[in-house]
Amino acid sequence: MFKTIILSAFGAGLAVGIALSVVQAVTTEPLILHAETFESAEPAPAAAAAPHEHSTTEAHAHEAAAPAAAAPAHEHDEDAWSPADGFERSAYTLIANLLMGVGVSAVLLGLMSIRGGRIDASTGVLWGVAGFFAASLLPSLGLSPELPGTAAAEITSRQVWWLSTAAASAIGLALIVFGRSWLLKVAGLVLGVLPHVIGAPVPPTLEASYPAGLGGEFVAASLVVSALLWALSGLCSGWLYQRLSRSA
């Protein structure tokens, strides 16, 4: 059974990774590249802020605040290797998408196996949508998808909050859907809400190097891409698993 799960996950991951790359190429990718043009042009926002004709003390306050605000966007390690723009960068993105597709498919199939019952395309897509809800939509309430150049809290604290929130949301959702008593369902609801009561790490500033509209477009595009990753992984892996286990 492990073999069937892994084979299905790799097959599904291949399809999902390619589909995701195609969709990203026309949705999120142009927005990322657009935002990077502002990021590399920095410290434009700081320079633009300075000539404001405020009173001298206020202008000083702006100047003092601006470099600190711009700093978090510059955490790229300049010496480290990174893929060259164009084909190489797209190729690595495709590989990363394939790995994500395989990973998500393996997790979904594993969870469906533990739950027991029928595994096929239609149950798979339901689990996939639930996975998107837990591991993308709910965490995005605290940490919305960010374009390059977004000021944000320290990376590790955000990653910890994101992973904890995804885990709590998944367990909470499972308790609400599968819990046999009202007590379990209420516990699931509390668990789902808890990370948002605790609150996500707060960014040092809401200023960004790119226009606000670009950020808004990106949030929607990113959520659509994530929904596609999860739903398509569930659909493809469920379908493949059913076919492979029937022939085995």
Binding site: W81, R89, G103
Partner: protein
Amino acid sequence: MTNFSKTATRSTSIAADGAKSDAASRIVPALFAIAFGLFLFVGTGFAAPSLIHNATHDTRHSLGLPCH
């Protein structure tokens, strides 16, 4: 595979009836699949080294994962 069946056998020895041993042989490989999937997901989406970060940069941003 030997490892899984060993673990499964150990679990089934605790199980009281046939239904439970069936559940154990289903759950152990499923847990391995979940661990493997999470390893790929976290490795691609969260690993700290600059090399991995730079290679997966656009995927992380596209999927709304915390990035740099």
